[in-house]
Protein backbone atom coordinates (compact mmCIF):
# COMPACT_ATOMS: atom_id res chain seq x y z
CA UNK A 1 0.00 0.00 0.00
CA UNK A 2 2.84 2.37 0.84
CA UNK A 3 6.49 2.36 -0.18
CA UNK A 4 7.61 0.00 2.58
CA UNK A 5 4.86 -2.61 2.10
CA UNK A 6 4.72 -5.27 -0.61
CA UNK A 7 1.87 -5.13 -3.13
CA UNK A 8 0.46 -7.47 -5.71
CA UNK A 9 1.53 -6.52 -9.27
CA UNK A 10 -2.12 -6.11 -10.30
CA UNK A 11 -2.73 -3.55 -7.55
CA UNK A 12 0.48 -1.73 -8.30
CA UNK A 13 -0.07 -1.42 -12.05
CA UNK A 14 -3.75 -0.53 -11.83
CA UNK A 15 -2.92 2.20 -9.37
CA UNK A 16 -0.09 3.52 -11.54
CA UNK A 17 -2.36 3.43 -14.60
CA UNK A 18 -4.98 5.49 -12.78
CA UNK A 19 -2.45 8.14 -11.78
CA UNK A 20 -1.14 8.34 -15.35
CA UNK A 21 -4.71 8.83 -16.61
CA UNK A 22 -5.21 11.61 -14.07
CA UNK A 23 -2.14 13.48 -15.23
CA UNK A 24 -3.19 13.02 -18.87
CA UNK A 25 -6.56 14.55 -17.97
CA UNK A 26 -4.68 17.38 -16.31
CA UNK A 27 -2.37 18.29 -19.19
CA UNK A 28 -4.76 17.52 -22.08
CA UNK A 29 -6.33 21.00 -22.38
CA UNK A 30 -2.94 22.69 -22.07
CA UNK A 31 -1.43 20.49 -24.79
CA UNK A 32 -4.42 21.05 -27.08
CA UNK A 33 -3.98 24.81 -26.69
CA UNK A 34 -0.24 24.64 -27.35
CA UNK A 35 -0.49 22.41 -30.42
CA UNK A 36 -3.26 24.42 -32.10
CA UNK A 37 -1.36 27.67 -31.53
CA UNK A 38 1.01 26.49 -34.29
CA UNK A 39 -1.59 25.02 -36.67
CA UNK A 40 -1.65 26.56 -40.15
CA UNK A 41 -5.45 26.92 -40.17
CA UNK A 42 -7.90 29.77 -39.68
CA UNK A 43 -9.98 27.74 -37.25
CA UNK A 44 -9.20 26.50 -33.77
CA UNK A 45 -9.66 22.86 -34.73
CA UNK A 46 -8.01 19.82 -36.19
CA UNK A 47 -7.02 18.56 -38.77
CA UNK A 48 -3.39 19.52 -38.58
CA UNK A 49 -2.46 21.61 -41.63
CA UNK A 50 1.20 22.19 -41.00
CA UNK A 51 3.37 24.31 -38.70
CA UNK A 52 3.16 28.10 -38.69
CA UNK A 53 4.11 31.03 -36.50
CA UNK A 54 1.40 33.21 -38.09
CA UNK A 55 -0.65 33.37 -34.90
CA UNK A 56 2.24 35.06 -33.17
CA UNK A 57 3.66 37.32 -35.89
CA UNK A 58 1.35 37.62 -38.91
CA UNK A 59 -0.33 40.88 -39.82
CA UNK A 60 -2.40 40.25 -42.93
CA UNK A 61 -6.05 40.76 -43.82
CA UNK A 62 -6.77 37.14 -43.11
CA UNK A 63 -4.68 36.58 -40.01
CA UNK A 64 -3.78 38.84 -37.11
CA UNK A 65 -1.02 37.42 -34.98
CA UNK A 66 -0.58 38.23 -31.31
CA UNK A 67 2.02 40.97 -31.86
CA UNK A 68 -0.20 42.76 -34.37
CA UNK A 69 -3.33 42.45 -32.25
CA UNK A 70 -3.39 45.80 -30.48
CA UNK A 71 -6.49 44.97 -28.43
CA UNK A 72 -4.98 41.80 -27.01
CA UNK A 73 -1.60 43.43 -26.29
CA UNK A 74 -3.43 46.31 -24.61
CA UNK A 75 -5.44 44.01 -22.34
CA UNK A 76 -2.30 42.02 -21.53
CA UNK A 77 -0.55 45.22 -20.43
CA UNK A 78 -3.56 46.30 -18.35
CA UNK A 79 -3.57 42.90 -16.63
CA UNK A 80 0.12 43.18 -15.78
CA UNK A 81 -0.35 46.71 -14.46
CA UNK A 82 -3.41 45.69 -12.40
CA UNK A 83 -1.63 42.64 -11.00
CA UNK A 84 1.38 44.73 -10.02
CA UNK A 85 -0.71 47.24 -8.02
CA UNK A 86 -2.86 44.49 -6.47
CA UNK A 87 0.19 42.48 -5.42
CA UNK A 88 1.91 45.53 -3.90
CA UNK A 89 -1.15 46.68 -1.98
CA UNK A 90 -2.03 43.13 -0.85
CA UNK A 91 1.52 42.49 0.31
CA UNK A 92 1.71 45.64 2.44
CA UNK A 93 -1.69 45.14 4.09
CA UNK A 94 -1.27 41.36 4.27
CA UNK A 95 2.00 41.71 6.19
CA UNK A 96 0.39 44.21 8.57
CA UNK A 97 -2.48 41.76 9.14
CA UNK A 98 -0.12 38.82 9.73
CA UNK A 99 1.90 40.80 12.30
CA UNK A 100 -1.28 42.07 13.93
CA UNK A 101 -2.91 38.66 14.35
CA UNK A 102 0.26 36.76 15.29
CA UNK A 103 1.86 39.23 17.69
CA UNK A 104 -0.71 41.63 19.15
CA UNK A 105 -3.49 41.12 21.64
CA UNK A 106 -6.61 43.28 21.46
CA UNK A 107 -10.38 43.25 21.80
CA UNK A 108 -12.45 41.80 18.96
CA UNK A 109 -9.35 40.05 17.61
CA UNK A 110 -11.33 36.89 16.89
CA UNK A 111 -14.00 38.78 15.00
CA UNK A 112 -11.46 40.71 12.92
CA UNK A 113 -9.57 37.52 12.09
CA UNK A 114 -12.79 35.88 11.01
CA UNK A 115 -13.50 38.84 8.70
CA UNK A 116 -9.96 38.71 7.31
CA UNK A 117 -10.44 35.02 6.44
CA UNK A 118 -13.94 35.44 5.02
CA UNK A 119 -12.85 36.17 1.41
CA UNK A 120 -11.72 32.52 1.28
CA UNK A 121 -15.34 31.37 1.48
CA UNK A 122 -17.17 34.24 -0.21
CA UNK A 123 -17.72 33.54 -3.92
CA UNK A 124 -15.92 36.07 -6.13
CA UNK A 125 -19.21 37.07 -7.76
CA UNK A 126 -20.54 38.27 -4.40
CA UNK A 127 -17.45 40.36 -3.68
CA UNK A 128 -17.77 41.86 -7.15
CA UNK A 129 -21.44 42.86 -6.91
CA UNK A 130 -21.27 44.10 -3.34
CA UNK A 131 -18.23 46.30 -4.00
CA UNK A 132 -19.95 47.58 -7.16
CA UNK A 133 -23.10 48.45 -5.19
CA UNK A 134 -21.18 50.25 -2.46
CA UNK A 135 -18.88 52.23 -4.73
CA UNK A 136 -21.81 53.30 -6.91
CA UNK A 137 -23.76 54.41 -3.86
CA UNK A 138 -20.79 56.30 -2.41
CA UNK A 139 -20.12 57.90 -5.80
CA UNK A 140 -23.66 59.17 -6.26
CA UNK A 141 -23.77 60.37 -2.63
CA UNK A 142 -20.61 62.43 -3.06
CA UNK A 143 -21.88 63.85 -6.32
CA UNK A 144 -25.29 64.81 -4.96
CA UNK A 145 -24.11 66.33 -1.70
CA UNK A 146 -20.72 67.82 -2.57
CA UNK A 147 -20.73 67.93 -6.35
CA UNK A 148 -17.56 65.82 -6.46
CA UNK A 149 -17.10 63.40 -9.27
CA UNK A 150 -14.85 60.68 -7.93
CA UNK A 151 -13.69 58.72 -10.93
CA UNK A 152 -12.47 55.56 -9.23
CA UNK A 153 -15.87 54.96 -7.62
CA UNK A 154 -17.42 54.10 -10.97
CA UNK A 155 -16.23 50.93 -12.73
CA UNK A 156 -12.63 51.63 -13.70
CA UNK A 157 -9.03 50.48 -13.38
CA UNK A 158 -8.70 51.46 -9.72
CA UNK A 159 -11.97 49.85 -8.70
CA UNK A 160 -10.70 46.58 -10.18
CA UNK A 161 -7.49 46.98 -8.16
CA UNK A 162 -9.51 47.52 -4.97
CA UNK A 163 -11.80 44.58 -5.70
CA UNK A 164 -8.94 42.14 -6.29
CA UNK A 165 -7.02 43.49 -3.32
CA UNK A 166 -10.00 42.67 -1.07
CA UNK A 167 -9.17 38.95 -1.32
CA UNK A 168 -5.49 39.18 -2.34
CA UNK A 169 -4.60 40.49 1.12
CA UNK A 170 -6.10 37.35 2.73
CA UNK A 171 -3.73 35.06 0.83
CA UNK A 172 -0.70 37.21 1.67
CA UNK A 173 -1.74 37.25 5.34
CA UNK A 174 -1.95 33.44 5.43
CA UNK A 175 1.36 32.85 3.64
CA UNK A 176 3.29 35.40 5.71
CA UNK A 177 1.50 34.30 8.90
CA UNK A 178 2.58 30.67 8.34
CA UNK A 179 6.23 31.74 8.27
CA UNK A 180 5.77 34.07 11.23
CA UNK A 181 4.66 31.06 13.33
CA UNK A 182 8.21 29.67 12.95
CA UNK A 183 9.82 32.92 14.05
CA UNK A 184 11.90 32.83 17.20
CA UNK A 185 10.41 35.57 19.42
CA UNK A 186 13.53 35.83 21.58
CA UNK A 187 15.23 37.61 18.66
CA UNK A 188 12.69 40.43 18.89
CA UNK A 189 12.90 40.49 22.67
CA UNK A 190 16.68 40.74 22.45
CA UNK A 191 16.36 43.72 20.10
CA UNK A 192 13.86 45.39 22.42
CA UNK A 193 16.05 44.91 25.48
CA UNK A 194 18.92 46.49 23.51
CA UNK A 195 16.76 49.63 23.30
CA UNK A 196 15.43 49.16 19.78
CA UNK A 197 11.91 50.50 19.33
CA UNK A 198 9.27 48.00 18.36
CA UNK A 199 9.14 49.43 14.84
CA UNK A 200 12.91 49.07 14.50
CA UNK A 201 12.80 45.49 15.67
CA UNK A 202 10.08 44.68 13.12
CA UNK A 203 11.94 46.42 10.32
CA UNK A 204 15.44 45.07 11.04
CA UNK A 205 14.67 41.64 12.56
CA UNK A 206 11.21 40.36 11.65
CA UNK A 207 10.86 41.57 8.04
CA UNK A 208 14.25 40.14 6.89
CA UNK A 209 13.26 36.82 8.47
CA UNK A 210 9.97 36.92 6.55
CA UNK A 211 11.55 37.90 3.21
CA UNK A 212 11.18 34.51 1.40
CA UNK A 213 7.51 34.30 2.42
CA UNK A 214 6.94 37.92 1.39
CA UNK A 215 8.38 37.35 -2.08
CA UNK A 216 6.33 34.17 -2.45
CA UNK A 217 3.18 35.95 -1.30
CA UNK A 218 3.77 38.80 -3.76
CA UNK A 219 4.02 36.31 -6.63
CA UNK A 220 0.88 34.49 -5.48
CA UNK A 221 -1.09 37.77 -5.22
CA UNK A 222 0.18 38.77 -8.67
CA UNK A 223 -0.97 35.49 -10.23
CA UNK A 224 -4.34 35.53 -8.46
CA UNK A 225 -4.97 39.02 -9.80
CA UNK A 226 -3.70 38.18 -13.27
CA UNK A 227 -6.15 35.31 -13.74
CA UNK A 228 -9.19 36.73 -11.93
CA UNK A 229 -12.45 36.99 -13.81
CA UNK A 230 -15.39 36.58 -11.42
CA UNK A 231 -14.84 39.73 -9.37
CA UNK A 232 -13.23 41.79 -12.13
CA UNK A 233 -16.08 41.56 -14.62
CA UNK A 234 -18.36 43.73 -12.44
CA UNK A 235 -15.81 46.42 -11.68
CA UNK A 236 -14.24 46.81 -15.09
CA UNK A 237 -14.48 50.14 -16.94
CA UNK A 238 -13.77 50.60 -20.63
CA UNK A 239 -10.39 48.82 -20.61
CA UNK A 240 -10.67 45.04 -20.20
CA UNK A 241 -8.08 42.92 -18.45
CA UNK A 242 -6.81 39.86 -20.29
CA UNK A 243 -9.27 37.32 -18.80
CA UNK A 244 -12.22 39.61 -19.59
CA UNK A 245 -10.93 40.16 -23.13
CA UNK A 246 -10.33 36.41 -23.58
CA UNK A 247 -13.85 35.70 -22.34
CA UNK A 248 -15.56 37.96 -24.86
CA UNK A 249 -13.40 36.62 -27.69
CA UNK A 250 -14.04 32.98 -26.75
CA UNK A 251 -17.76 33.73 -26.70
CA UNK A 252 -17.95 35.64 -29.95
CA UNK A 253 -14.91 35.25 -32.21
CA UNK A 254 -12.22 32.74 -31.41
CA UNK A 255 -9.20 32.45 -33.71
CA UNK A 256 -5.91 30.67 -32.99
CA UNK A 257 -4.48 33.96 -31.73
CA UNK A 258 -6.20 33.04 -28.44
CA UNK A 259 -4.12 29.87 -28.44
CA UNK A 260 -0.99 31.92 -28.99
CA UNK A 261 -1.60 34.13 -25.96
CA UNK A 262 -2.78 31.19 -23.83
CA UNK A 263 0.32 29.25 -24.86
CA UNK A 264 2.54 32.12 -23.70
CA UNK A 265 0.73 32.21 -20.34
CA UNK A 266 1.27 28.45 -19.90
CA UNK A 267 4.96 28.82 -20.75
CA UNK A 268 5.35 31.74 -18.36
CA UNK A 269 3.65 29.84 -15.51
CA UNK A 270 5.71 26.72 -16.16
CA UNK A 271 8.95 28.68 -16.02
CA UNK A 272 7.89 30.43 -12.80
CA UNK A 273 7.00 27.05 -11.28
CA UNK A 274 10.35 25.53 -12.32
CA UNK A 275 12.23 28.48 -10.81
CA UNK A 276 10.35 28.02 -7.51
CA UNK A 277 11.17 24.29 -7.54
CA UNK A 278 14.83 25.12 -8.18
CA UNK A 279 14.96 27.68 -5.35
CA UNK A 280 13.36 25.17 -2.94
CA UNK A 281 15.94 22.52 -3.91
CA UNK A 282 18.78 24.98 -3.28
CA UNK A 283 17.49 25.64 0.22
CA UNK A 284 17.56 21.96 1.09
Amino acid sequence: MIRSLPNSPLYKYTYRFYVICFFLFLVMPLIAIAVLAFNDSNFVALPWKGFTLDWFFANTDERTGLLADDGLIQSLLISIKTAFYVATLSTVVGIAAALLFEEEKFRFKGLLYFLALSPLVIPGVILGISILLTSTMAGSYLEEHFGWEVEFLSPSFWLVVLGQFSFGATYVMLLVGARLKKFDRTLEEAALSLKATRLQSIWYITIPFLRPAIIGAFVVAFLISFSNFNTTIFLIGSDPTLPVDLYSRIKFSSTPVLNAVSFLIVVFITITALISLFINREKK
Binding site: M1, I2, R3, S4, Y15, Y18, V19, F23, F25, L26, P29, L30, I33, L36, F43, A45, L46, V93, A96, A97, L100, E104, F106, L115, A116, L117, L120, V121, I122, P123, G124, V125, I126, L127, S130, L132, L133, T134, F165, S166, L174, K195, T197, R198, L199, S227, F229, N230, L242, P243, L246, I250, K251, S262, I265, V266, I269, A273, L274, L277
Partner: protein
Protein backbone atom coordinates in the same frame (compact mmCIF):
# COMPACT_ATOMS: atom_id res chain seq x y z
CA UNK B 1 9.21 52.92 29.54
CA UNK B 2 10.04 53.85 25.94
CA UNK B 3 9.10 50.46 24.65
CA UNK B 4 5.58 50.73 25.84
CA UNK B 5 4.95 53.91 23.84
CA UNK B 6 6.59 52.42 20.71
CA UNK B 7 4.38 49.41 21.14
CA UNK B 8 1.25 51.51 20.87
CA UNK B 9 2.32 53.40 17.77
CA UNK B 10 3.18 50.12 16.07
CA UNK B 11 -0.13 48.64 17.06
CA UNK B 12 -2.04 51.51 15.45
CA UNK B 13 0.16 51.41 12.37
CA UNK B 14 -0.70 47.74 11.96
CA UNK B 15 -4.39 47.87 12.77
CA UNK B 16 -5.28 50.95 10.71
CA UNK B 17 -4.71 49.49 7.22
CA UNK B 18 -6.29 46.21 8.30
CA UNK B 19 -9.41 47.96 9.62
CA UNK B 20 -9.67 50.05 6.46
CA UNK B 21 -9.43 46.91 4.31
CA UNK B 22 -12.00 44.95 6.29
CA UNK B 23 -14.53 47.72 6.89
CA UNK B 24 -14.43 49.42 3.49
CA UNK B 25 -14.08 46.36 1.28
CA UNK B 26 -15.71 43.54 3.27
CA UNK B 27 -18.19 44.76 5.91
CA UNK B 28 -19.77 47.80 4.23
CA UNK B 29 -20.21 46.15 0.80
CA UNK B 30 -21.96 43.13 2.32
CA UNK B 31 -24.23 45.32 4.45
CA UNK B 32 -25.00 47.27 1.31
CA UNK B 33 -25.76 44.03 -0.52
CA UNK B 34 -28.28 43.15 2.18
CA UNK B 35 -29.88 46.62 2.15
CA UNK B 36 -30.01 46.82 -1.64
CA UNK B 37 -31.74 43.46 -1.79
CA UNK B 38 -34.69 45.05 0.05
CA UNK B 39 -34.83 48.15 -2.13
CA UNK B 40 -36.52 49.09 -5.36
CA UNK B 41 -37.00 52.33 -7.27
CA UNK B 42 -40.40 53.94 -6.70
CA UNK B 43 -42.19 55.74 -9.52
CA UNK B 44 -40.59 59.03 -8.47
CA UNK B 45 -37.13 57.44 -8.63
CA UNK B 46 -36.58 57.34 -4.85
CA UNK B 47 -35.48 54.16 -3.08
CA UNK B 48 -38.23 52.39 -1.20
CA UNK B 49 -38.27 49.35 1.05
CA UNK B 50 -39.71 46.25 -0.60
CA UNK B 51 -39.80 42.48 -0.42
CA UNK B 52 -40.40 42.30 -4.15
CA UNK B 53 -36.88 41.12 -5.01
CA UNK B 54 -37.28 38.05 -2.85
CA UNK B 55 -40.88 37.30 -3.81
CA UNK B 56 -39.79 37.44 -7.47
CA UNK B 57 -37.37 34.64 -6.67
CA UNK B 58 -39.86 32.39 -4.94
CA UNK B 59 -42.70 33.03 -7.40
CA UNK B 60 -40.72 32.23 -10.50
CA UNK B 61 -40.07 28.52 -10.82
CA UNK B 62 -37.06 28.94 -13.10
CA UNK B 63 -35.20 30.95 -10.45
CA UNK B 64 -35.47 28.57 -7.54
CA UNK B 65 -35.09 25.55 -9.78
CA UNK B 66 -31.80 27.03 -10.98
CA UNK B 67 -30.82 27.75 -7.41
CA UNK B 68 -31.41 24.13 -6.32
CA UNK B 69 -29.76 22.79 -9.46
CA UNK B 70 -26.63 24.89 -8.83
CA UNK B 71 -26.34 23.83 -5.19
CA UNK B 72 -26.85 20.16 -6.13
CA UNK B 73 -24.16 20.36 -8.82
CA UNK B 74 -21.77 22.08 -6.42
CA UNK B 75 -22.21 19.29 -3.85
CA UNK B 76 -21.90 16.61 -6.53
CA UNK B 77 -18.73 18.10 -8.04
CA UNK B 78 -17.19 18.43 -4.57
CA UNK B 79 -17.76 14.71 -3.86
CA UNK B 80 -16.46 13.83 -7.33
CA UNK B 81 -13.36 15.98 -6.81
CA UNK B 82 -12.64 14.04 -3.62
CA UNK B 83 -13.07 10.63 -5.29
CA UNK B 84 -10.97 11.56 -8.31
CA UNK B 85 -8.10 13.27 -6.52
CA UNK B 86 -7.70 11.37 -3.26
CA UNK B 87 -5.88 8.36 -4.81
CA UNK B 88 -3.56 10.81 -6.59
CA UNK B 89 -2.81 12.76 -3.40
CA UNK B 90 -2.08 9.46 -1.63
CA UNK B 91 0.12 8.24 -4.49
CA UNK B 92 2.20 11.41 -4.51
CA UNK B 93 2.74 11.49 -0.75
CA UNK B 94 3.01 7.80 0.19
CA UNK B 95 3.68 5.60 -2.84
CA UNK B 96 5.99 7.22 -5.37
CA UNK B 97 9.61 8.10 -4.49
CA UNK B 98 10.17 11.63 -3.18
CA UNK B 99 12.27 12.58 -6.20
CA UNK B 100 9.39 12.30 -8.69
CA UNK B 101 6.79 13.47 -6.20
CA UNK B 102 8.01 17.05 -6.06
CA UNK B 103 8.05 17.26 -9.85
CA UNK B 104 4.53 15.85 -10.17
CA UNK B 105 3.24 18.07 -7.37
CA UNK B 106 4.55 21.02 -9.35
CA UNK B 107 2.74 19.77 -12.45
CA UNK B 108 -0.46 19.89 -10.39
CA UNK B 109 0.01 23.58 -9.72
CA UNK B 110 0.41 24.66 -13.35
CA UNK B 111 -3.27 24.42 -14.44
CA UNK B 112 -4.17 26.10 -11.18
CA UNK B 113 -2.05 29.17 -11.87
CA UNK B 114 -2.67 29.33 -15.60
CA UNK B 115 -6.18 30.45 -14.75
CA UNK B 116 -9.70 29.40 -15.42
CA UNK B 117 -10.20 31.21 -18.72
CA UNK B 118 -7.28 29.46 -20.40
CA UNK B 119 -8.10 25.96 -19.16
CA UNK B 120 -11.82 26.28 -19.92
CA UNK B 121 -10.85 27.42 -23.41
CA UNK B 122 -8.66 24.31 -23.66
CA UNK B 123 -11.64 22.08 -22.81
CA UNK B 124 -13.74 23.87 -25.40
CA UNK B 125 -11.14 22.98 -28.03
CA UNK B 126 -11.03 19.37 -26.84
CA UNK B 127 -14.75 18.69 -26.59
CA UNK B 128 -16.20 20.45 -29.65
CA UNK B 129 -17.90 18.59 -32.50
CA UNK B 130 -14.76 19.17 -34.54
CA UNK B 131 -12.66 19.20 -31.41
CA UNK B 132 -9.52 17.24 -30.71
CA UNK B 133 -11.23 14.27 -29.02
CA UNK B 134 -13.87 13.77 -31.73
CA UNK B 135 -11.34 14.15 -34.55
CA UNK B 136 -9.09 11.62 -32.86
CA UNK B 137 -11.89 9.08 -32.32
CA UNK B 138 -13.01 9.52 -35.95
CA UNK B 139 -9.43 9.09 -37.13
CA UNK B 140 -8.90 5.79 -35.33
CA UNK B 141 -12.31 4.64 -36.52
CA UNK B 142 -13.92 4.14 -33.13
CA UNK B 143 -16.90 6.30 -34.08
CA UNK B 144 -18.27 7.34 -37.48
CA UNK B 145 -19.89 10.62 -36.55
CA UNK B 146 -18.91 13.17 -33.87
CA UNK B 147 -20.33 12.70 -30.38
CA UNK B 148 -22.07 15.80 -29.10
CA UNK B 149 -20.17 16.70 -25.92
CA UNK B 150 -19.71 20.47 -25.88
CA UNK B 151 -22.51 22.71 -24.57
CA UNK B 152 -23.98 19.93 -22.44
CA UNK B 153 -24.13 19.28 -18.72
CA UNK B 154 -21.33 16.78 -19.28
CA UNK B 155 -18.88 19.37 -20.62
CA UNK B 156 -19.94 21.81 -17.91
CA UNK B 157 -19.22 19.22 -15.21
CA UNK B 158 -15.82 18.38 -16.71
CA UNK B 159 -14.91 22.07 -16.71
CA UNK B 160 -16.13 22.63 -13.15
CA UNK B 161 -14.28 19.55 -11.93
CA UNK B 162 -11.09 20.56 -13.72
CA UNK B 163 -10.95 24.11 -12.39
CA UNK B 164 -11.72 23.13 -8.81
CA UNK B 165 -10.27 19.67 -8.10
CA UNK B 166 -6.68 20.81 -7.58
CA UNK B 167 -7.83 22.84 -4.58
CA UNK B 168 -8.74 19.47 -3.03
CA UNK B 169 -5.37 17.85 -3.79
CA UNK B 170 -3.18 20.47 -2.13
CA UNK B 171 -4.67 20.44 1.43
CA UNK B 172 -5.15 16.65 1.36
CA UNK B 173 -1.50 16.18 0.41
CA UNK B 174 -0.34 18.41 3.24
CA UNK B 175 -2.29 16.40 5.86
CA UNK B 176 -1.17 13.06 4.38
CA UNK B 177 2.47 14.17 4.54
CA UNK B 178 2.26 14.27 8.32
CA UNK B 179 0.68 10.80 8.56
CA UNK B 180 3.28 8.47 10.05
CA UNK B 181 3.90 5.48 7.76
CA UNK B 182 4.46 3.20 10.74
CA UNK B 183 0.75 3.44 11.63
CA UNK B 184 -0.10 1.86 8.30
CA UNK B 185 2.71 -0.68 8.65
CA UNK B 186 1.53 -1.67 12.12
CA UNK B 187 -2.05 -2.14 10.93
CA UNK B 188 -0.82 -4.20 8.00
CA UNK B 189 1.37 -6.38 10.27
CA UNK B 190 -1.64 -7.04 12.44
CA UNK B 191 -3.50 -8.33 9.41
CA UNK B 192 -5.72 -5.40 8.50
CA UNK B 193 -6.96 -5.37 4.92
CA UNK B 194 -6.33 -2.40 2.63
CA UNK B 195 -9.97 -1.37 2.95
CA UNK B 196 -9.78 -1.37 6.75
CA UNK B 197 -6.55 0.65 6.73
CA UNK B 198 -8.14 3.06 4.30
CA UNK B 199 -11.38 3.61 6.23
CA UNK B 200 -10.01 3.35 9.79
CA UNK B 201 -6.67 5.15 9.50
CA UNK B 202 -6.13 7.11 6.31
CA UNK B 203 -9.53 8.77 5.90
CA UNK B 204 -10.00 9.80 9.56
CA UNK B 205 -6.46 11.15 9.67
CA UNK B 206 -6.83 13.25 6.51
CA UNK B 207 -10.29 14.58 7.41
CA UNK B 208 -9.05 18.13 8.18
CA UNK B 209 -7.47 18.35 4.72
CA UNK B 210 -10.55 16.88 3.06
CA UNK B 211 -12.79 19.41 4.82
CA UNK B 212 -10.62 22.40 3.85
CA UNK B 213 -10.38 21.16 0.28
CA UNK B 214 -14.08 20.38 0.11
CA UNK B 215 -15.04 23.85 1.32
CA UNK B 216 -12.81 25.61 -1.22
CA UNK B 217 -14.00 23.35 -4.07
CA UNK B 218 -17.66 23.84 -3.15
CA UNK B 219 -17.26 27.62 -2.93
CA UNK B 220 -15.44 27.82 -6.27
CA UNK B 221 -18.03 25.69 -8.06
CA UNK B 222 -21.15 27.35 -6.66
CA UNK B 223 -19.75 30.81 -7.48
CA UNK B 224 -18.32 29.95 -10.88
CA UNK B 225 -19.53 31.61 -14.02
CA UNK B 226 -16.98 30.91 -16.74
CA UNK B 227 -17.26 27.11 -17.00
CA UNK B 228 -21.11 26.94 -17.05
CA UNK B 229 -21.30 29.89 -19.43
CA UNK B 230 -18.68 28.74 -21.94
CA UNK B 231 -18.99 24.95 -21.69
CA UNK B 232 -22.60 24.56 -20.56
CA UNK B 233 -25.54 24.53 -22.94
CA UNK B 234 -28.14 27.23 -23.44
CA UNK B 235 -30.40 25.29 -21.11
CA UNK B 236 -27.81 24.94 -18.36
CA UNK B 237 -29.39 26.24 -15.18
CA UNK B 238 -26.67 28.10 -13.31
CA UNK B 239 -27.45 30.60 -10.60
CA UNK B 240 -24.46 32.92 -11.07
CA UNK B 241 -25.58 33.39 -14.68
CA UNK B 242 -28.84 34.85 -13.32
CA UNK B 243 -26.86 37.24 -11.12
CA UNK B 244 -24.69 38.31 -14.05
CA UNK B 245 -27.79 38.95 -16.13
CA UNK B 246 -29.43 41.05 -13.43
CA UNK B 247 -26.34 43.20 -13.05
CA UNK B 248 -24.89 43.38 -16.55
CA UNK B 249 -27.85 42.87 -18.94
CA UNK B 250 -31.17 43.89 -17.38
CA UNK B 251 -29.66 46.26 -14.79
CA UNK B 252 -32.12 45.13 -12.14
CA UNK B 253 -29.65 45.59 -9.31
CA UNK B 254 -32.16 45.13 -6.49
CA UNK B 255 -33.14 41.69 -7.70
CA UNK B 256 -29.48 40.91 -8.46
CA UNK B 257 -28.55 41.86 -4.90
CA UNK B 258 -31.29 39.58 -3.53
CA UNK B 259 -30.01 36.70 -5.68
CA UNK B 260 -26.46 37.43 -4.57
CA UNK B 261 -27.52 37.42 -0.95
CA UNK B 262 -29.33 34.08 -1.40
CA UNK B 263 -26.19 32.61 -2.97
CA UNK B 264 -24.09 33.90 -0.10
CA UNK B 265 -26.58 32.41 2.39
CA UNK B 266 -26.62 28.94 0.86
CA UNK B 267 -22.86 28.76 0.42
CA UNK B 268 -22.17 30.01 3.96
CA UNK B 269 -24.72 27.68 5.53
CA UNK B 270 -23.41 24.60 3.72
CA UNK B 271 -19.83 25.54 4.65
CA UNK B 272 -20.93 26.15 8.26
CA UNK B 273 -22.64 22.75 8.28
CA UNK B 274 -19.51 21.05 6.92
CA UNK B 275 -17.39 22.70 9.62
CA UNK B 276 -19.88 21.69 12.34
CA UNK B 277 -20.14 18.09 11.16
CA UNK B 278 -16.39 17.63 11.11
CA UNK B 279 -15.80 19.74 14.23
CA UNK B 280 -13.41 22.17 12.56
CA UNK B 281 -12.82 25.91 12.61
CA UNK B 282 -12.60 28.30 9.68
CA UNK B 283 -8.98 29.04 10.63
CA UNK B 284 -7.98 25.59 9.40
CA UNK B 285 -9.36 26.18 5.94
CA UNK B 286 -6.74 28.78 5.25
CA UNK B 287 -3.77 26.74 6.35
Amino acid sequence: MENKKGFNITFYLLILPVLLWLIVLIVLPHLDLLISSFQADSDSGAKIFTLENYTAFFKSKIYWLTFINTAAYAIGITILAFIVTFPVAFYLTKVISKKYASFLALLLLIPLWVGELVTVYGWMILLGDHGVINEFLLYIGLIDKPINMLYTNFSMSIGLLYISMLFMVVPVMSTLESLDDSLIEAASDLGATKWTIFTKIIIPYSMPGITSGGIIVFMLVIGDYVAPDILGGKSSLWFTEQIYNEFLSTFNWGEGAAFGFLLLMISSSIIWLALKLTGQKLERVGS
